[in-house]
Structure formats: structure tokens, C-alpha cells
């Protein structure tokens, strides 16, 4: 069942000199099994928005529903909600605290009162899901490398076996390989049937992986649509000081230079295909190019 926001407002520190409205009139709907990317400038309300999804924040006005649970109203069902929606905060490795990685991953499952057997089963499953070697389970989380720490922390959320996974800047501060691995893991979880919502500044990451994009601007939804639709709107994005994916920028330049390439490519593979098409067209002379070929090289 879907996630629905109806006219949601959120105000931080109401009735103090620091009062700030972080969300204004936000309405949206996320269906089961979608992969949604949320982008927007700093301070546009992205993080505030996703914290409503598992009841960490409650709407000041309006309604948020996840399945049949109304966030804020159904107080007794908060635990149930947190099992449905897993939330991975920015720099999740800063939340690690236990003596061993195993105990840290087990923290969530233990909190929801599972049997020891089930807890251990989940720990191993979560560990595999984030590509961690089971051998590190008995080491201290503070001995791990930065990338491993992040994966251990994400495993701690996954072990809740949530159906919806929300990730706030999961690739921030990772090296290129770490980033690629992270995106692969998310893709795998998504193809396993999980709904994934990813907040990111990394337009290129979102372009590669999301089905649909929500653009936040000053607490409201600026645009939403399929990834291709959104990243075609170069001028609109630029007005919000956002950019189109780097591949699309290159294609745009090529087009300005008079080379007939499509500008709405999202990934490097698509760009390569489109370029190959153009080059082949030149060689054979007549062939019409078709920019919808979305296959790998």
C-alpha cells in the first residue's frame, strides 16, 4: 500500500524566535516498489520530508499516511510503523555504539522483541545484503574502514526487515568505488521488492538509479515526474540552482556544437549508445538515429 502526504506543513520550534517553516503544503504519493529520488538545494526540506515517513517528525498540519497508519495520530502503532519504514540518516556510521558489529546490527531487531534465533538470522541476512564479510561480525565497529562502518550501520536498519527503505545522502563522503557499490546494493534491494526513497545531492547517482524524481524547493515540491522527464528540464533545474546529470550536460554541449545527439540521456551507457548511433549514422550515411536504445555497450 502506498505512502500518501496530504497538504503537509512542518514548522520547527513553533512559537519561538527560531520558528521556521520547513515544509509547506506538500502533497505526494509513493507507490509500492517504486524507486524515488528526492533532490533539492540545501535547506529545501528534503530531510524534514523523509523524517515524516517513519514518524520521527509529525506533521504540524495535514496528514501523512503509510499503508493504513496515520503518522502522528496513531500513537500506539509507532513501533509497527518503524518496522515498515527503515530510515538511514546522513552519515549513519555516527550512530554505531556497540562492542561488536553483531550486537550493533542486532540492536533494532532486539528492540522489536524478536527471539534470539531470529535476531541472529536477521543479522546474517543484513550483513550479506550490504556485502559485509561475516567474519567482521565479531570485531568492534570502530576498527572498520569508513565504508565498512557505513555498511554496518545500514545493515542495522535493514535488519528491521522494513518494506520501505529511506536513505538520506547514502553516498556522501564515499570514494567512487564505495559509491558504485552502494548504488549496486540499493539496486539489488529494490529488485527484491523493496520501496526505496533516496535523498541525494548527487544528481548523477539519482539519474542512474531512480524511477521517479521529486524536486524540493523552499519547503514545497518544485517538480515531480519520471527521472527522464525531470532531467530534460534543464532551464527549470538551473533556476533552482540544480544541474542535469553530467552525461546530459555533455550531450547538450555536443548538440550545441551541431552534433545531432539526444540530450535526455541519464547514464554513461545510454550516452555511449547514443554516440555510437551517431557515429554509425555518419559511416553508413542514411541511418536515422534512435535515442531510445537503453542497452549496455
Amino acid at each position: 500500500m502506498p505512502i500518501v502526504f496530504e497538504d503537509v506543513d512542518y514548522v520547527y520550534d513553533p512559537e519561538t524566535p527560531w520558528q521556521t517553516t520547513a515544509l509547506r503544503d506538500v502533497s505526494l504519493r509513493i507507490e509500492d516498489g517504486e524507486f524515488v529520488g528526492i533532490v533539492g538545494p540545501t535547506g529545501s526540506g528534503k530531510s524534514t520530508l523523509v523524517q515524516h515517513l517513519n514518524g520521527i517528525l509529525k506533521p504540524t498540519c495535514g496528514r501523512v499516511r503509510v499503508d493504513d497508519i496515520e503518522v502522528g495520530a496513531d500513537r500506539g502503532r509507532m513501533k509497527e510503523l518503524r518496522q515498515k519504514v527503515g530510515l538511514v540518516f546522513q552519515y549513519p556510521e555516527h550512530q554505531l555504539f556497540e562492542e561488536t558489529v553483531r550486537d550493533d546490527i542486532a540492536f533494532g531487531p532486539k528492540n522489536i522483541g524478536l527471539s534470539e534465533d531470529e535476531v541472529q538470522r536477521r543479522v546474517r541476512w543484513a550483513c550479506r545484503a550490504v556485502d559485509l564479510d561475516e567474519q567482521i561480525l565479531d570485531r568492534s565497529p570502530f576498527e572498520l574502514s569508513g565504508g565498512q562502518m557505513r555498511r554496518a550501520a545500514i545493515a542495522g536498519v535493514l535488519a528491521m526487515k522494513c518494506r520501505v527503505l529511506v536513505m538520506d545522502e547514502p553516498t556522501a563522503g564515499l570514494d567512487p568505488r564505495g559509491r558504485a557499490n552502494m548504488l549496486d546494493q540499493m539496486r539489488r534491494l529494490h529488485s527484491g521488492g523493496m520501496t526505496i526513497i533516496m535523498v541525494s545531492h548527487g544528481i548523477d547517482d539519482i539519474a542512474q538509479i531512480a524511477d521517479r524524481v521529486i524536486v524540493m524547493n523552499e519547503g514545497s515540491i518544485g517538480m515531480q515526474g519520471t527521472t527522464r522527464e525531470i532531467f530534460r528540464r534543464y532551464e527549470d533545474l538551473q533556476a533552482l540552482s540544480l544541474q542535469v546529470p553530467r552525461t546530459a550536460q555533455i550531450m547538450r554541449r555536443l548538440r550545441e556544437a551541431g552534433i545531432p545527439v539526444p540530450v535526455d540521456v541519464l547514464t554513461i551507457n545510454e550516452a555511449a549508445d547514443a554516440l555510437a548511433e551517431v557515429l554509425r549514422g555518419k559511416n553508413c550515411g542514411a541511418e536515422e538515429h534512435n535515442h531510445r536504445s537503453v542497452h549496455s555497450r
Partner: protein, 262 residues
């Protein structure tokens, strides 16, 4: 939840109180506290309350902020009232089981609670109207003469500046960690005392780790900019006493005198 701590909080403003030299404000507050505790008789307290009201008005401090500062000490105030009422020997006006509420006790309870309330309100006004940096600059200057006695004035001021600077950062950090652990089903509000104490571990361990990391980074950043203590350091912002400070000083001396007199 953690935002209700008003002591140490600063509300930026442009009022005359905000613009006073921090040293004037610190000495004024110190004087106020001393007078408050040597005072006898209700008329004096009325004068002191008048001073507090005048400063709050001139500083355009919202009443709500002042009242909010009292919330954490409410229990102490209630305790003071009850203890003073039943523990002071004197003429019994009301019998409460084995305890006697005395005439003198009621007077004592009233003066003590008014003292505490005025004390909290006025000292929190100092921080509400003075930027933390100005405050520590003022303290460093005022502690200067004691350096000969071995008081590390600059180091103390620097430590205070850093501590004050990091309070909001650590509060934010704590809130973030709290949210992250809540997302993993942690529960901080229910259970026995022992359960609740235990539920602090997932908050405190990450908080300490991040505090140490920040301290390391800060030390490195300071060393990279050649920080080596206060010796020979010049100031970007030089404290200056101006006309309003004289007026404020004169006003305080007069009113303090009046409070002691009446």
C-alpha cells in the same frame, strides 16, 4: 525537547542592552546577585524586581523566554518554599501532621523563592542579550588582574568560548543520534529507571565519540593557524566603554543603593 534550556542562549538584537559593553553587564549582574542576597525587607525586593523589569523591557526580551528559563528550576523553587515553611522556627499558624507551618517560615519561603526567581531571570538576561564571544571577552578582561595570582585568564576564557560554541552543535548531534536510534526502535521514555539509564548508552557512546573527533579536529585547526595561547595576541574586536555604559552603571549604583536603603 532539549531546546527549552534558556541559560546560555543568546537572542540576537539591536537594543541598548544588547549594545552595552559586556563588562558592564557582567559587573552589573554580579552586583545584582550580591545585593539580592544581602537584602532585607520586601521594599528592596520590589526595587530589584523593578530593575529586572526595566532591563527586560529595554532589551526587548520576550516574557515567554524569561518564564521558560524558570521551568528547569521549578522543582527547586517548590522545594525551597515547602522546606522553609516547615523548617523555620516561630509562631505556628497551621499544623500539618507533625510539621508546623510558621509565620516566619512563610515570610522566609516567600523571600527565598523571589530571590531564586529574580536570580535566574536576571542571570539568564545576561546571556540572552550578550553574544557568547563578547561574554568570554569580558570575562577574560575582568580576570586579567588575577593573572598575577596564577589564574589562567586567557585559557579559561578560551575554554568557555569553545564550550559555549559547541553546546548547540552537541545538542543538534544528540538530537540526530536520538532520531537515528529511534528509527531502529529504541525507546527512551518508558520502562524502569534502570531501563531508561541503559537506553542512554546508544546515545552517549556515539555522542562522546563525535565530541572527541570534533575536539581533535578543532585542536588541529587551531594549531594549523599557529595558536599558542594568549601571550601577545591582539584582538579583532576591542572592548570599549562608551556613554551608555556610564549611564547604565550610574543607574545600577543608584538603584542598588535604593534597594539597600528602603
Amino acid at each position: 525537547m532539549l531546546k527549552s534550556i534558556t541559560i546560555g542562549q543568546y537572542i540576537p538584537g539591536e537594543s541598548i542592552i544588547h549594545r552595552l559593553d559586556p563588562r558592564t553587564k557582567i559587573l552589573g549582574t554580579l552586583g545584582y546577585v550580591v545585593i539580592l542576597f544581602v537584602l532585607r525587607g520586601p521594599a528592596g525586593y520590589a526595587v530589584m524586581a523593578g530593575i529586572t523589569a526595566a532591563v527586560a523591557l529595554l532589551g526587548r526580551i520576550p516574557v515567554r523566554m524569561l518564564l521558560r528559563g524558570l521551568r528547569p528550576v521549578l522543582i527547586i523553587i517548590l522545594f525551597t518554599i515547602v522546606l522553609n515553611m516547615v523548617m523555620t522556627p516561630g509562631e505556628t499558624v497551621y499544623q500539618l501532621g507533625p510539621l508546623d507551618v510558621t509565620d516566619e517560615g512563610i515570610v522566609q519561603a516567600a523571600t527565598m523563592s523571589i530571590r531564586v526567581i529574580l536570580l535566574i531571570m536576571t542571570t539568564s538576561m545576561l546571556t540572552l542579550t550578550t553574544a557568547p564571544i563578547d561574554l568570554t571577552d569580558g570575562i577574560e578582561y575582568l580576570l586579567g588582574p588575577f593573572r598575577r595570582l596564577g589564574v589562567p585568564a586567557h585559557e579559561l576564557a578560551m575554554m568557555m568560548t569553545i564550550a559555549l560554541r559547541f553546546i548547540p552543535t552537541l545538542v543538534d548531534e544528540l538530537e540526530r543520534i536520538m532520531k537515528a536510534q529511534m528509527a531502529r526502535g529504541a525507546d527512551f521514555d518508558t520502562g524502569s529507571f534502570l531501563d531508561r539509564a541503559k537506553s542512554m548508552i546508544p546515545l552517549l557512546v556515539p555522542l562522546f565519540i563525535s565530541a572527541f573527533r570534533r575536539a581533535d579536529d578543532l585542536a588541529l585547526a587551531m594549531e594549523a593557524r599557529c595558536y599558542r595561547g594568549g601571550e601577545g595576541r591582539t584582538r579583532y574586536k576591542v572592548l570599549k566603554v562608551s556613554t551608555p555604559d556610564f549611564w547604565a552603571g550610574a543607574f545600577l549604583v543608584c538603584t542598588f543603593g535604593a534597594a539597600l536603603w528602603v
